[in-house]
Amino acid sequence: KDWRGWNIHVEDYPVSHGMEAFMAEVTEKTGGELKGKVFHSGVLGSQPDAIEQLRLGIIDFGVFSLGPMGQAVPATNVVSLPFIFKSVPQMYEIMDGEGGEALGKALEEKGIVALGYYDAGARSFYNSIKPINAPADVAGMKVRVMNNDLFVGMIEAMGGNATPMAFAEVYQSIKTGVVDGAENNPPSYESTSHFEVAQYYSMSQHLIIPECLCMAKKTFDALTPEQQEVVREAGRNSTALQRDLWQKREMASMEIVKAGGVTVNEIADKSAFQAAMAPVYETFLADNPDMVELVDLFRNAE
């Protein structure tokens, strides 16, 4: 049967090109034995639904953000901890090594085979009021975050008012002042036009949450060992391609928002932010005592 690929992004996006390249390579190297189609723009459902469909073998592969993945596979929550990675290159290194392996094992227990970790950049704060240079600047601000206790805790640790809100309502809400700002990576900030209404982008880079090119274990296990190797290699190649495209896209997005009048400020010393996150880590480790080792593996990596 033809594979079905799930993708939340629009057709022209680094993730989308990565998935298309993956599928094309698999088809080519198996001489057309394995083929399939990528369904972009989330037409096959939201991420939580798609994860369920992947585990049931209804869809065969997809690229999932490890953020909301935490609801189904708690171990992946570790990458949703603020400042767990020191930089994007360090994230590549950890995810291609021991860290990625550990998460891959946890995913596999839930019927998901991880083939590679795509780049989704670093998320930074943006708002309509002022540049953020220190945690105190967030105090009192209404900031939209994704639905996750960790992100709510992160804003609260800085004294802000965390407001989970449907993504589609964010633009209008910033514009009219229901919320003051939100946080996201540059391509999202640019493509959603949020930069038109929130003209301060502060490079806090507090969250580096990779996305995972995943395959249904049901589909993967049905392959011959040779095919599995082809799939794994195509996964690695598409990861390299996606990361390259992502970097270019990120730069292009920064150019666009700067041309759109956005004030971008670098935060050279992030230690004050990192220090403010101590209660977030404490709560997380208190709630998940079994994950101390995993957190240390990520936290203490060079």
Binding site: E52, R55, P68, Q71, N147, N148, D149, N161, A162, T163
Partner: protein, 176 residues
């Protein structure tokens, strides 16, 4: 309806009660839904601390409003349908078609209950964000709906059939 057999009259009464119970629970959910949104805005403006659970709780409540209300709607016949063609067929064929429809609905309700039970089990290890309760609480609404649709339509089919065999016609309430 007075010359129906006793068991059918009693059965109809039980189904009426069950349907009213569904509507009652769904009504309470609606009132709570409106109240939590009042609290949400109060929290954001007055307390400057947005209650972060409102959104997810609302999404849960709306499932119960929808599915319990929809199950009651099967009993009360308030769902939108195209009855024009069926009504053109004459009373005899129309009666058989109504019986057939009820059987299809009952079967679909049964399927919905069984499939939702699988989803219920499957979702037990996945947590709803912010509420931190199993996702299964959401699918439970569909599970209940399936079971109730099966009961409402199934018993109606049974009553129809029993009356048909006695040469009586089933009392049909017009949708309100």
């Amino acid at each position: 309806m007075q010359d129906y057999p006793e068991w059918i009259v009693r059965g109809e009464r039980i189904l009426d009660g069950l349907s009213k119970l569904c509507v009652f629970v769904a009504s309470c959910a609606l009132v709570v839904l409106v109240a939590t949104f009042g609290w949400l805005v109060f929290g954001r403006y007055v307390l400057n601390a947005t209650p972060t659970w409102v959104e997810q709780l609302a999404l849960l409540l709306v499932c119960y409003i929808a599915y319990l209300g929809a199950a009651a709607g099967v009993h009360e016949r308030t769902h939108l349908g195209v009855t024009l063609f069926r009504d053109m067929m004459g009373p005899k064929v129309s009666a058989y078609l109504k019986l057939f429809n009820d059987i299809v609905l009952a079967a679909f309700g049964g399927l919905m209950a069984v499939a939702s039970l699988e989803l219920f089990q499957f979702g037990w290890s996945t947590l709803l964000p912010m509420l931190n309760i199993p996702e299964s609480f959401r699918t439970l609404s569909a599970l209940l709906c399936g079971g109730l649709v099966c009961i409402f339509a199934g018993f109606r089919a049974l009553f129809r059939l029993a009356l048909m065999m006695r040469g009586q016609t089933y009392y049909e309430e017009e949708a309100v």
